[in-house]
Symmetry: C2
Subunit: 193 residues, 2 copies
């Protein structure tokens, strides 16, 4: 966190930065209650506890004017017909945006506002995604085998609020239908959960 300029490479394929300050590993067991097919979730968990996604963080002071950044790697796979995904979060400071630059793989970003507006955008290499302030966001890996790798940047003062979206869920899910990703309603959300 020395206050001098620095550089690092992002190895591709893979997405692991040559330099990082934090490494978050989320396993299947960390995602309890987030997939629609709870029976399959339980069956898969009984067979092991695979890694769902990993985040490599470059830390900076958590103040406006700084930019927190790193890479997100969502491993391919499904829980029933639902693709592997991240927990997703609002920013604690709701009025904080985030930028993703997709480096590898295929995916979608599921997004929604506190007012219930929703959006889904596709991710693929070379594509930039702008998540405006107020939009919670969850990455989904829709590739059959390859990791989804994105480089992300967000304002230093943004913070993460996982709880709000964890308790209400996202309105939309991305599932496989006839071999292709499809956006569907989240039955748990509409049930007022």
């Amino acid at each position: 966190m020395a206050d001098i300029p620095f550089t690092f490479e992002i190895a591709l394929p893979g997405g692991v930065p040559a330099h990082y300050d934090g490494h978050i590993v989320r396993r299947l067991s960390d995602m309890a209650g987030m997939f629609a097919d709870e029976r399959t979730f339980g069956d898969l968990l009984a067979q092991g506890d695979p890694i769902m996604y990993q985040v490599y963080e470059i830390r900076r002071p958590e103040v406006a004017g700084e930019l927190l950044h790193g890479t997100s790697i969502v491993h391919a796979g499904q829980v029933g017909d639902e693709y592997h995904m991240t927990k997703g979060h609002f920013h604690t400071v709701l009025e904080a945006a985030e930028i993703y630059y997709c480096l590898q793989g295929r995916g979608m970003m599921i997004m929604e506002t506190p007012e219930g507006d929703w959006a889904v955008e596709e991710l693929r290499p070379g594509r930039v995604l702008y998540v405006p302030p107020r939009w919670a966001h969850r990455s989904v890996n829709t590739g059959p085998q390859e990791d989804l790798v994105t480089f992300f940047v967000y304002p230093g003062h943004a913070g993460h609020n996982y709880g709000a979206i964890e308790s209400r869920g996202f309105r939309k899910r991305v599932v496989e239908r006839e071999g292709r990703p499809q956006v569907v309603d989240n039955p748990l959300w509409s049930s007022g959960r």
Copy 2:
């Protein structure tokens, strides 16, 4: 500038975003006084006014929490032994960082603080550069022929201050010596200009 999520591709090679709100073109004539070899600068200008660099901007509200972003394309070439470069700038809000992700080409970023600290970092594809708050920054294309293309992100409230660095110049220059880039002192800076 609709406040809904959006995506766009950055075409490579090239670096032109599929969607942008602003396109800045800087020609040789815009760089008067910035290259050490003023005679060669004049000779080149007499032969035409080539494009030195271009910036494609995606505009957002200029407030903290938003992220301004786009691509920078510095065309290859030299003025005497000095490589093509951007004007360079401090942020108006000095305490604002910037991130560069290099997409194409070879280059260097020349940086310095108001206190006179300096740093130079190499740019090449796949490399991230973090410019902390307080550091003015200028991109230099050190490739013999290829454009230097970077994707940049900075805080919405940062602003640009070209004047401060234009009147005092950067402390360091990047010149070709025996076919390779080398960092040297800026004689104009040390002359108290």
